[in-house]
Symmetry: C3
Subunit: 113 residues, 3 copies
Amino acid sequence: MSIKRFGAGARMSQAVVHNGLVFSAGQVGKGADITAQTKDALANLDNWLAEAGTDKSKILSATIWIANMDDFAGMNAVWDAWVDPQNPPARACTEAKLALPEFLFEVMVTAAV
Amino acid sequence: MSIKRFGAGARMSQAVVHNGLVFSAGQVGKGADITAQTKDALANLDNWLAEAGTDKSKILSATIWIANMDDFAGMNAVWDAWVDPQNPPARACTEAKLALPEFLFEVMVTAAV
Amino acid sequence: MSIKRFGAGARMSQAVVHNGLVFSAGQVGKGADITAQTKDALANLDNWLAEAGTDKSKILSATIWIANMDDFAGMNAVWDAWVDPQNPPARACTEAKLALPEFLFEVMVTAAV
């Protein structure tokens, strides 16, 4: 059984590949507002997908958490500009308090490799 | 690599099939209360599973969000009548504010195809 | 198509195995505080992974919910002592109200079998 881990620390890995699937950790981003944080988190996700040998066109499923549902439209504006419109994943988005009070956006995906 | 997307829009797909698995988007439903919305969302899920070539007896994992944990029993009453009792999936249910204030129930699944 | 279900009740299974993957149900634990509940829930998870023919070194992805983000450090202390440091999974942790008011911690995983 082959399991490859990327960005592995003592607590978690940033991406784990097994049998043609990659599972990402929850990706967050830096920035003062939902626009900046969503862009940065999705750029982080792009980087881990590239490390794992894939890209956003192969995302199968995405789970999104935002700290304030009032930011739903702002998050979606960045998402819609980022997502591959020919290859959109299944998605769910709910509101949740995240690990640090400054975090406004987090996304976790499963993608094909 | 074959990835099939169903109900694909510019933002997301309603179901994505790859390598014998289908990943659904978060399904919500219409209705005035938890009973009506859970029934409608699960009917929507049934439809997307059928599009993907599978059915509820092959659900592997379900993640449920309800807007108010006071609706847990009401949601479960509908779930218990709907789920295949010979083939129940792994499941988790938490409370979360959903994309629109009127949404009371959302479910996202992974199933075998 | 082979799907094996472990700890199956009328509502859900505790673990479902298909095509080399196991999907766990959300695992909770008993205890008066985050330390006790996290330990007990992770012990429950260990048991279901063993039933499914695998173990924590093969977890691919973990989703954690805690009822109060003030317990993040307490949860992580137990997690860090439990997780296989050579084989850490992808992980996300958000705050969410859980099914019963006494529940402080819940974890759901996907692992290789």
